[in-house]
Amino acid sequence: MVQLMQDNMNEKISRLIDGDLDHAETLQLLKKIQTDESLRLKLWRYQTISQTLKSDVNCHAGSDFSRKVFQDIQQEPPHFLPQISQAKTLPQTPKTQQQHGRMWLAVAASTVAAAVLVAQAIRNEQNTGNIQSITAMASPQLALPASYPSSTNSKPVNRRPLNTQFNEYLQAHNSSVYINGEAEFQPYARVASFGRE
């Protein structure tokens, strides 16, 4: 029984990565993953395998990567805003001017670093499909691997076959739908039952 439930959960995680789960199932699964460390690690492993197969490139990050970043941010003293307000109110001595310059240098460096991270996130987005938007909607604080982008999806095209007509066209185009097990019984293809007992 336990094994059956585990198999079912594994299948659901696999379907989540493929984008095959519906909205309700996705939310339910993500809630479970949020509270279960082993499921979180499993999701991360499956995603890593999928990403490696698709891109031959894998960005390795621990499953608690986002949690650690969150903790570090929480522990970070609030440097910038008080100093900015202080700099505006105090007279500009050479020392404060020097501090002010350092501060803006730090802001500029942070901006550049953020730009690089955003660019990497956009690149990674091509590998992870539309899962990120569902994930973000379900649980903004979910500790997901770094390979999951956090930005909103801004692709101009849809990345999934949304209806049966597309699948029917795809089936007439090539035999990939037979391989994927998504072939439907078409009016042009002959269909037979056999060996029915």
Binding site: K54, N163, H173, F194
Partner: protein
């Protein structure tokens, strides 16, 4: 004496290396097409197509100039797919139903490479870009690089000894893998008999095999321009959708490696509109598609080519008599 032996070994190794170097990418691919048609082989293949991952057992037999390919699914739904020449049978084991389809323009589930590669010189460059092991077999890495932006880069890993394709990858922009077929293990020249496990279905069919090709001139549309290298391969007019019995014009184009389908059918009524392809661009794995209205018809162009290619083709479709099929 030792020196003489060493010299002999060096010369032998050198001659073998030189022999390998003499093979051009085209020769390797031509050897591959020949080996695929003549060899018996089987193994486990992983397919990454249409954003889906599937692992299947694969069997290929060749006897009396007839080839048979057979795929057995390792995952649900349990199914068996058999290709005999241009006929594909897909057996769903749970429902005990079989779909029989005809595809005169396809030859392999693994790699569909044209026999005459010289015809592709205007569109592709062929290079041997390395040697790697796949499924524990040494292989040539052949890159098939397009000379324009109308198609994708491909690479095929061809076994150095048997010249069978061990891996094939379609790359998108920025080197992203869009499609991949790879043997995880392969056994060559293992004698297997062609199977006939779903022949029982044949006796239940009430109609003979029906050829479905038609003349391109019958199409309700024509193409005013095509990307360089693409040719019309196949045209049919038949009911394509199970939800409606209306005929759909289907024109298949190919440049030898990449294929594009052009579909034209009368617009659906409102009740069935939700099942239609929405207007605009769509992407699934390597397949890009575009759909738009053309008078009273809906035009859809899709294929394993960049979005700009399907857009170009769609923009160059015009109705012959301003009527849908």
């Amino acid at each position: 004496m030792v020196h003489v032996v060493l010299l002999f070994l060096l010369l032998s190794a050198g001659s073998v290396f030189a022999e390998e170097k003499l093979l051009t990418a085209k020769e390797i691919l031509q050897n591959m097409v020949k080996a695929m048609a003549e060899s018996d082989y089987q193994g486990t293949v992983v397919f990454l197509k249409n954003d889906k991952l599937e692992a299947m057992k694969y069997f290929h037999t060749a006897s009396n100039n007839k080839e048979q390919e057979r795929l057995l699914s390792l995952n649900s739904p349990p199914r068996e797919i058999v290709r005999n020449s241009d006929e594909i049978k897909c057996l769903y084991k749970l429902t005990r139903q079989v779909i029989i389809d005809h595809r005169p323009y396809e030859h392999s589930f693994i790699v569909d490479a044209p026999k005459n590669l010289d015809e592709l010189d205007a569109s592709y460059r062929f290079d041997v870009v390395g040697e790697e092991d796949v499924a524990m077999l040494p292989a040539f890495v052949v890159a098939i690089e397009p000379k324009d932006d109308f198609r994708y880069v491909r690479k095929i890993w061809v076994a150095k000894q048997q010249f069978l394709p061990l891996k094939a990858v379609v790359f998108g922009p920025n080197g992203l893998v869009l499609e991949q077929v790879i043997f995880t293990e392969i056994q060559v020249n293992k004698q297997t008999q062609p199977v006939n496990t779903i022949a029982a279905a044949k006796s239940l069919l009430d109609s003979p095999e029906t050829p479905i090709a038609a003349e391109t001139a019958q199409a309700a549309f024509e193409l005013t321009a095509l990307p360089k290298g693409f040719k019309e391969i196949f045209f049919s007019r038949k009911p394509l959708r199970k939800t409606s019995g209306q005929p759909v014009d289907h024109l298949l184009l190919s440049d030898g490696f990449a294929s594009v389908s052009v579909y034209l059918e009368a617009k659906q009524d409102n009740a069935a509109a939700d099942s239609g392809v929405p207007e605009g661009m769509h992407t699934v794995g390597a397949v890009n598609s575009i759909s738009r209205n053309l008078a009273d018809a809906q035009l859809t162009v899709l294929g394993e080519v960049p979005a700009s290619t399907v857009k170009f083709i769609a923009e160059n479709v015009k109705l012959r008599n301003a009527t849908a099929p």
